[in-house]
Symmetry: C2
Subunit: 215 residues, 2 copies
Amino acid sequence: MEKQEAFPITYSVLGLLAFMGPMSGYDVKRAFDHMLSPMWGAAHSQIYKELRRMENLGWVTMEREEQEDRPDRKVYSITTKGQEALADWQTQPADNLQMRDELLLKLLFGSFAPPGALAANVRESIMHHEQRLLQYRANVQYLPVLENALQHHTTNESHATGAKSTGMKRPNPYAPQHETEPYLNQVARFAVAFEETYLKWLYETLDAIEGRNEQ
Amino acid sequence: MEKQEAFPITYSVLGLLAFMGPMSGYDVKRAFDHMLSPMWGAAHSQIYKELRRMENLGWVTMEREEQEDRPDRKVYSITTKGQEALADWQTQPADNLQMRDELLLKLLFGSFAPPGALAANVRESIMHHEQRLLQYRANVQYLPVLENALQHHTTNESHATGAKSTGMKRPNPYAPQHETEPYLNQVARFAVAFEETYLKWLYETLDAIEGRNEQ
DNA sequence: TATATCATGTAATCGGTTACATGATTAA
DNA sequence: TTAATCATGTAACCGATTACATGATATA
């Protein structure tokens, strides 16, 4: 087997291009933060790199939009080959979940630290995740709204670069009907379920630490 | 602020040395896989690197145990400075959870892939996580056993390398009393809760995909 | 007036993964 | 007797994070 040519982030970016249409790296970053940050984080510099990588692979094409005040926009579009690569990746089995949570680490070796500091950390985490939970709950309820908001980045503004006029067909047999996006919704539901579980555990943990502390 | 000198994995390794006593890199890797893999993965090569890093920082010391058939064992021990660094890290706030799950990614863009393949992936994931759940449940119940099993790596075998005779004191004010390790237990409980939530969602997702498929 | 945010991207560095080595013992 | 597993570690490479650049507009 030849050297690996693409990775989860690669496909994340590819998926966003498939899902939301042609975009610049900057737009991809925005979309990424909105939709994917809970399950995979990425710096913008890396997204640009993945776009270049995929250009070399022929999975996307780039059209340069010249601008004056700012650097030119490089607008990327998924190709047919890219669509195939995406679907192929999704078909391959994949099951490696890595949960990188520093708080869990700190708590695991909790017996080496002053309980007060740990409790403070847990409290901070609780606030943070309560926030996220609210956000995710809103997402589940207002998914169509979110989708529109995201679409606007692509659909408003003048991007009559001719990309469409080249006939770059995207028939896309599985193209999402944006009336309802059940997969998106399903993942959003997971985010909610996860945050609820995590929060419940955090409260439980706080009780345990403080109960152990006093008394 | 000077360049960052240590990272989550660094402290993970350090914590294991504090928790289980002097070990070689190989032993650390074993312990790592047992205790930390759910929340932070690491290749053995990286663990060796972290040990070297910490040696330079003065957080650990190394004693070489010569062997014939195999490469020499380099046994690392945490120093007082290392213990301070560990506790200090735990005291700092930390809340960045990154959950890297390829399956979630694949499902998110599910509308671009054949539902049958997705369902197959979900089924495989279900089997995998059912396994993990059983394992974690056993951990919660038999924690003392697990701890003993891990301890044995360090406590059996001949390691009278003189490390102890140098008077390397490890008074360790918060040293875990191995009768019960409440923090370890608490984290194990999280692992169980997480797997339960994840599995429930996987089943739900499978239903959704298949329900949509037939009918 | 200074600081953030919008907007876009490149370059350098470092964490993390994969590959490379070596040899003994145990299992298929 | 071929292949895992035990055992132990180094070297090379690549994904991912941090830093570097640039210049507008909006906000405090």
